[in-house]
């Protein structure tokens, strides 16, 4: 290897390492019994395996039944990204009462099926949204709330927000408005239910099929990419 290529490799390493927090850098650690092991948090804590496509059940009757169960039991990830998240808490109050549609709030992405992107998405939040979205288990659905997720809305020329959500993750249902009221959200949930029951809500597989395109788009926006390409 020539000196020149060496320099290029080092430069690239430095560039990658620049955004890493100190505790995430590769380092040597002495264990309690004296042996020295190497710890690489990015490799040890995360997987770098590519996502898989999970085909629906090939027997239509079973798949329809499971889709019915999925539609009637929507667990929403409690992650408010923008100002629209103020419309989520009223859903659980007596006035709107989303529970009667089987909509429940979960606090962890592992147990959620529905991700509501509520309003504008800043670049900093997009990174967290991508990680949370990828941690959700396979039949997963995205509801985009508000105009900001469709074309940027009133933040269309902002330096710090994204304009079109569907460039970064597949969206099942859009709810337009600024802001949409909780009634609109309920209508969105019912629309999502129709889609799931019809077997048309397979966007999680779509994300996997176009994985490279989505990743390229995400990396174009997120400059300090310091995580593995796929967080599961």
């Amino acid at each position: 290897m020539t000196n020149e290529t060496n320099n290029i490799v080092e430069d690239k390493l430095e560039l990658e390492d620049k955004f890493l927090a100190p505790e995430n850098r590769k380092r040597q650690v002495t264990t309690p019994d004296g042996t020295i092991i190497e710890v690489d948090p990015l490799r040890d804590y995360f997987s770098d395996a590519r996502p898989q496509i999970y085909r629906p059940n090939s027997i239509p009757v079973i798949e329809n039944f499971l889709n019915w169960a999925r539609a009637e039991s929507l667990w929403v990830l409690g992650f408010g990204t923008g100002c629209g998240s103020i419309e989520l808490p009223p859903l659980t109050t007596p006035r709107f009462d989303a529970y009667r549609f089987g909509v429940q709030m979960r606090a962890t992405p592992r147990q959620s099926n529905v991700f509501i992107i509520s309003g504008y998405l800043s670049v900093k939040t997009l990174k967290r949204v991508v990680r949370s979205y990828e941690q959700m288990p396979n039949p997963k659905y995205v509801i985009a709330l508000g105009s900001c997720t469709i074309n940027g809305g009133m933040y269309y020329d902002s330096y710090n927000t994204i304009n079109r959500l569907d460039q970064y993750m597949p969206v099942d249902v859009y709810i337009a408005g600024c802001m949409p009221r909780p009634e609109a959200l309920l209508a969105g949930f019912n629309k999502l239910k129709e889609l799931i029951k019809a077997g048309k809500a397979e966007k999680a597989n779509e994300y996997v099929e176009n994985f490279d395109w989505y990743k390229a788009n995400q990396k174009k926006i997120i400059k300090d990419w310091n995580m593995p390409d796929y967080n599961w």
Binding site: Y45, Q52, Y54, F65, L66, A69, R70, E72, S73, G78, T93, P94, D97, Y99, R100, G102, Q104, M105, R106, A107, T108, R110, Q111, N113, P137, N138, P139, W232
Partner: protein
């Protein structure tokens, strides 16, 4: 011991009944809670749908062997409790595999699932799981103190460790129930059952808005389905245990449904009224009045 197929089939059927009753019971409770809050509320059958959906999740992530075994341990704790619990008094078929001295085993099984869950959730690696586990174990240890004192008190009172015998001793009149013959032990146990059911004020361990979800943070799909199956069984079985020990047991399934519902509802009722304790508050609370009542019960016995 002879192998008895009829007994085995009846036990499995009983497990099925208990599971479905547990799901229905929590559905009814949630419906009542919704109506108290003037909401229409979730459908009563939502528990079954959630179970089906959880078992139908396509992608599952595992963090290692203990992560698999955690829910399995928890479920075997719940099923183990069921196997050794006499369900219907005087019934040959619904006594399950109860035997002399089963009370000791049941006290052990209550902790068994919790420990398995601790190992499994610990391997999940999520910090919230570790916090939830340490909180859960410390709270459950203090719950066990008044509960064990109460159980010892009634074991002294009836001179037996067999649940079937304890139920038999309470037959005849409603005044023969332990709740009337040994009120201190009953009150101590009924206060500790508040913590065992994990409703407010003692639901800090799993409360979604304190630390997200707590021990099962990383569990999803089938893992979560197994945990929820176990929760349904465990709630009924805990209620049946207290029904057997303090409220004269049940002579038919309808009586069992009614009594277990009322015992479960007692913890929900308290939870609706009182706000949540922090963990150090709940630990101190269990070690004060309920423990004192338990000690009084032992002294009197």
């Amino acid at each position: 011991m002879d192998f008895d197929l009829t007994k085995l089939l009846f036990t499995l059927l009983g497990l099925l009944i208990v599971l479905n009753w547990g799901i229905l019971m929590s559905g009814i409770i949630r419906k009542i809670g919704a109506r108290v809050a003037k909401r229409y509320g979730i459908p009563v059958y939502q528990g079954w749908i959630d179970l089906i959906k959880n078992y139908a999740i396509r992608s599952q992530i595992t963090h290692g062997i203990m992560f698999y075994l955690g829910p399995v341990f928890r479920l075997s704790g719940g099923v183990g409790l069921f196997l050794f619990m006499p369900m219907i008094f005087g019934s040959e078929h619904w006594s399950n595999y109860s035997f002399q001295g089963d009370l000791i085993l049941l006290m052990y099984f209550q902790f068994f699932g919790m420990l398995g869950m601790a190992l499994g959730a610990g391997e999940g690696g999520h910090p919230n799981s570790a916090i939830g586990i340490s909180r859960g174990l410390s709270q459950f240890t203090t719950i066990e103190v008044p509960m064990t004192l109460a159980v010892i008190a009634i074991a002294i009172q009836y001179h037996t460790l067999s649940i079937a015998d304890i139920v038999a001793a309470q037959q005849g009149s409603i005044l023969n129930w332990t709740v009337f013959t040994n009120p201190f032990a009953t009150v101590a146990a009924m206060l500790s059952v508040l913590g065992a059911f994990g409703h407010s004020p003692f639901n800090l361990v799993k409360a979604p808005n304190e630390i997200p979800i707590g021990p099962p943070t990383e569990y999803h799909g089938t893992f979560l389905g197994v945990l929820r199956t176990n929760a349904a069984i465990l709630h009924v079985i805990e209620a049946v245990l207290f029904m057997n020990l303090f409220f004269g047991g049940a002579s038919n399934w309808f009586e069992l449904f009614l009594k277990s519902f009322l015992i479960y509802f007692w913890s929900v009722f308290v939870g609706m009224v009182f706000p949540r304790f922090r963990i150090e508050q709940s630990v101190r609370w269990f070690l004060k009045i309920p423990t004192l009542l338990g000690i009084i019960a032992i002294i009197l016995a």
